[in-house]
């Protein structure tokens, strides 16, 4: 069994990541075309929501990915923090903007769906609110990476914040649910939601698969970019040092 550390070598990472990306992009295209076809043309409209239910096929996988990405950040942060695995830090860092984008997509599509359903772009529904807070958690995490120049220090601090945030997610979720039930008794908004019809499941899972392969491709590509940028920065600072020593001598 290959140890975790074999993947810590950026050269080895590059060797399998580069050929994997085109396959992932191809899979994304296939799944997305199939999923959108089912979602837009070959699935029933909801008996209550009409065609607006089709927003769900874009919205629900985005919300899943939002949570999945944050969990992935927390797990890679723990791996990077405990075993000082360099690629885990890079993975955590590069997952954040993609995850934040999925979170934004979930909020945005939820809001579009909310306009015809609730008559308002935004309602302080428990789920919407917790996703919004998740978005703020993403922003804080990315802010740490942006403000610290020293990458190893940024990695450690961002990892600590990601783990603290991850521990807090269930507490935040619970408190928002509680708050919501206090403020609006007998929630009119999707109380449990209609149990989903089986004909809606294939497009949903196809879309979820497309999101997943897209995420994998985007993550691998941005990890490669980050590794290359770091190598460039190293070469650059090395050249400056030799130039400086030449001037001195």
């Amino acid at each position: 069994m290959p140890s975790l550390y074999e993947f810590a070598n950026p050269v080895r990472f590059e060797r399998w990541a580069r050929p994997a990306i085109p396959w992932l992009v191809g899979a994304t295209t296939l799944l997305l075309v199939a999923g959108l076809y089912y979602a837009l043309f070959n699935s029933p409209a909801d008996y209550q929501q009409g065609d607006s239910v089709r927003i769900m096929y874009v919205h629900v996988p985005a919300a899943w990915m939002a949570l999945f990405c944050y969990s992935l950040i927390a797990v890679s942060s723990a791996v990077g923090f405990i075993w000082k695995h360099p690629l885990a830090d890079v993975a955590a860092k590069e997952t954040a903007p993609i995850g934040a984008a999925f979170t934004f997509l979930a909020l945005f599509t939820g809001s579009i769906w909310g306009k015809p359903m609730w008559g308002a772009w935004w309602a302080w529904d428990a789920r919407l609110t917790s996703v919004l807070i998740l978005f703020f958690l993403y922003l804080g995490y990315m802010a740490i990476w942006r403000t610290f120049e020293d990458k190893t220090r940024a990695a450690r601090l961002a990892a600590i914040l990601a783990m603290v945030g991850f521990v807090n997610i269930p507490i935040i979720k619970f408190s928002v649910d509680w708050w919501n039930s206090l403020h609006q008794p007998a929630s009119v908004f999707r109380a449990g939601g209609p149990t989903i019809h089986s004909s809606m499941l294939p497009p949903l899972f196809l879309m979820a698969g497309a999101y997943m392969t897209f995420f994998a491709a985007a993550l691998l590509q941005s990890m490669r970019n980050e590794l290359m940028a770091r190598r460039l920065a190293r070469i650059d600072s090395g050249e400056k040092k030799t130039a400086a020593s030449l001037v001195e001598s």
């Binding site: 807070i133 601090l157 603290v164 945030g165 807090n168 935040i172 206090l182």
Partner: protein
């Protein structure tokens, strides 16, 4: 334990003497209350309805604005390095810093609350629940906040970043705190549940924030 007390005593002395920030947090708290009242307008019944939430938000913001001071001065004059190098258990020290922060900002805020509550025309029945919820909740704010301060101690101007980091983590305490204040004022049976959950959130912060702070302080050493 003696180091724990010594750090609290030292931080309190620094906070309340000239140049310390403790009185400013209370002044900021009062200003928020006044600004809210001016923005809402002179409708007394509306003001009294939002008084407790405004005071809770004000306490949260005043705490947030003063977090930057917890470790900043110690780092600038080098005493933070000494503290880290000499303390047996850095998390105990981090806990002491959070306690000192609560004593120098949280407690004065609670003492100032009745005055602000009079200005905001708070109902007479709402005083005790509001003060009790603040008493249970604000230590949690200081604990979680001290973690954010430890995380950003190496940055020259961190108060905005601290606010971004800490706000999502404050949400449970704000919800249960303001919820307890509202339920207690209305005689709602959920008052006790809210207070217990608020206490649980603070205790949870007390258990984990010092550990996270210690890890952050170590990672921030040069």
């Amino acid at each position: 334990m003696r180091a724990f007390q010594a750090i609290i005593a030292r931080d309190l002395r620094l906070a309340f003497r000239a140049g310390g920030g403790a009185p400013q947090a209370v002044a900021f708290f009062a200003v928020i209350g006044v600004l809210f009242a001016l923005a809402v307008g002179p409708d007394l019944s509306l003001i009294s309805k939002i008084a407790a939430p405004v005071i809770w938000t004000g306490a949260l913001l005043a705490t947030q604005i003063s977090l930057d001071q917890i470790y900043r001065a110690d780092r600038e004059d080098g005493s933070l390095d000494v503290i880290i190098a000499t303390s047996d258990e850095l998390m105990v020290t981090a806990a002491a810093k959070a306690v000192a922060h609560w004593l120098s900002t949280g407690l004065p805020l609670i003492i100032a609350t009745p005055v602000l509550a009079i200005l905001l025309n708070l109902d007479r029945d709402a005083y005790v629940p509001l003060l009790l919820s603040l008493l249970i909740g604000t230590p949690g704010l200081s604990l979680i906040g001290s973690f954010a301060a430890a995380l950003t101690v190496a940055l020259p101007r961190a108060s905005l970043l601290i606010s971004i980091i800490v706000s999502p983590l404050y949400i449970p305490i704000l919800i249960f705190g303001a919820g307890a204040a509202a339920a207690g004022a209305a005689g709602d049976p959920q008052y006790g549940a809210n207070l217990s959950l608020l206490g649980a959130a603070t205790l949870f912060a007390a258990a984990f924030a010092p550990i996270a702070s210690a890890a952050a302080l170590r990672s921030n050493q040069d």
